[in-house]
Symmetry: C2
Subunit: 332 residues, 2 copies
């Protein structure tokens, strides 16, 4: 039915082996025959059967990507970066959204493993035990992106500690002393923990003792932002809040405005992520931008260059991008 290298070989008066060598540019062959083979392949409309190739080589160039179903929009950015690099380095990406249902997760990952993927990228995933077990069992290279799991798996991420310092420094410089952290109280365990610590340390560095009540909310959802304002009530006990994800910050902003507060006068907001969402609000949100595309790129390229040791941590840059959501107390 479909065209195989055997067909090409017949037409060219060669053996399949030679055709394979030529098409893969691997081994010895003459330029002349190569030209002929390429022409014939083209004219017959040949497509390599990658399954057969994978089977023969016992290794595929497929990388599985696990994306949480409730994937915040930064996942798209990471994938974009990966896709670009995959194209350059000739890898294939098997992107899979994973569910919260554990049974589904397992089945999904099993099918990845069946494909003999040679690496699995986990985007912002807190592997629950069963899944994690499975992944460790299979011997496949794991990479955790934009999250930190344990010290067995290499990590590509922003420096969450540094980010918190950058944000607190920025707010401090604008005159803020009462700063809340919304959305890192529990979830995404390790990242949240690092952020909390960074936040506390950064405050301490300015001589501010943090108020534990002001670290509030743990889900990266819009609702968390809404609820936070509700929770603290007006007038708010702080002048600035850090939203631990863009969607949280939008929630904060809307809830504050709905409650009659003016942003940034009554509440300043700095958002963590810096996706397009921060540009769609009024006022535009000041944000710390993570380089998600770079994460995607680095994941693949460092994998390619085999520079990923077990406990590697690669940090990508973060920077403050100014919007209009932070009040400057110096100008009053």
């Amino acid at each position: 039915m479909a065209i195989t290298i055997k067909d090409i070989a017949n037409k060219a008066g060669l053996s399949p082996a030679s055709v394979s060598r030529i098409l893969n540019n691997h081994g010895r062959f003459s330029a002349e025959t190569a030209k002929k083979v390429h022409e014939i392949a083209e004219s017959l409309g040949y497509f390599k059967n990658q399954s057969a190739a994978d089977l023969s080589q016992k290794q595929s160039r497929v990388v599985g990507v696990l994306v949480p179903v409730a994937h915040t929009n930064f996942a798209d950015e990471i994938i974009k970066g990966m896709q670009h690099t995959a194209y350059e380095l000739n890898y294939e990406l098997l992107i899979t959204f994973i569910d919260t249902d554990e049974k589904k997760q397992i089945q999904t990952v099993q099918s990845l493993l069946s494909r003999k993927v040679f690496a699995i990228f986990m985007l912002a995933i807190d592997a629950p035990t069963a899944l994690f077990e499975l992944l460790n069992h299979a011997n496949v290279q794991l990479v955790s992106i934009s999250n930190q799991l344990n010290n067995k798996i290499p990590i590509i991420s922003s420096n969450n500690d540094l980010m918190m310092h950058q944000i607190v420094d920025h707010l401090y410089q604008k005159g803020h002393r009462k700063i809340a952290l919304i959305g890192s109280s529990e979830r995404y365990p390790i990242v949240a923990k690092i952020r909390r610590k960074g936040y506390i340390d950064a405050l301490a560095a300015k001589g501010i003792t943090y108020n534990p009540d002001w670290i509030w909310g743990f889900q990266n959802t819009y609702q968390t932002g809404l609820d936070a304002i509700q929770h603290f009530g007006t007038p708010l006990p702080f002048t600035a809040a850090i939203g631990s994800a863009d969607i949280i910050s939008v929630g904060l902003l809307n809830a504050a405005q709905d409650a009659g507060l003016v942003v940034p006068n009554d509440l300043s907001i700095v958002s963590v992520d810096g996706t397009e969402l921060t540009q769609l609000t009024r006022p535009i949100l000041t944000t710390i931008e993570q380089d998600f595309q770079m994460m995607g790129h680095l994941a693949l390229s460092s994998l390619h260059e085999k520079t990923l040791t077990e406990n590697a941590i690669i940090y990508t840059d973060t920077k403050i991008v100014l919007g209009d959501s932070v009040r400057d107390f110096n100008n009053y």
Copy 2:
């Protein structure tokens, strides 16, 4: 290295054939041996080599999904719907973001074809000629989702004509007579054409002659929304605008507010798509919601049941979801 059915066969004192039959629940075997085989497979940590299976069966259960890189967020919804159904019916999804660069597109799709995918879903893709050529050449089932390409490819989509009627009827009922259509002037050729026609027809049905100048903008971007307000200037010559995608509507809203207009008093907006984005604005956008998850579901299930003929068109439901972005002239 890895465990194969041969290993299982040895340990069970069977032939690989029997193991295969058992694991795939296909053919004859005794319940007793089946139990043994499953146990051994479990204990050895066996993973099927899907490449080998695909090769042997000459057909894979992999469906390729082509998603435009600048994928508006409804793509996520469609994929979610597909993923759910894929899980039920035991298919695998190979999601691929495709670039605007034609050479990359070709390479990407080639690699899909190499995987012997048995169908390709195209999400909101206007296939440019070269890609289209390639896809037609390969004999693979194509399905166009949320877009209409030509009458050779089955379509799963909202009824764009009906949607426009629903929107115009809603606006008319609220007392609007001057209604603009932003974002369907040229692009997404067929869909845009249908929307324009639906819009014009719906107006005509109310005895309104449309103003060709009020069909403006062709890209599904935030910028289109911003530019539209700029283009028409204030005060706007119409009382309501239909944003042909959520992101356009957000642009309209922000630009209008930035220009000092009050939504909905000075401008009413109805958005097309109804993704989460419409809930994040103030005021919340009135929108016509498309059932994207259902599109994803139907694509896969109708493929599975082989009910997709060449020129099939399957419409999913659309409905108006009320927000606060439409002024009601009846209440004044």
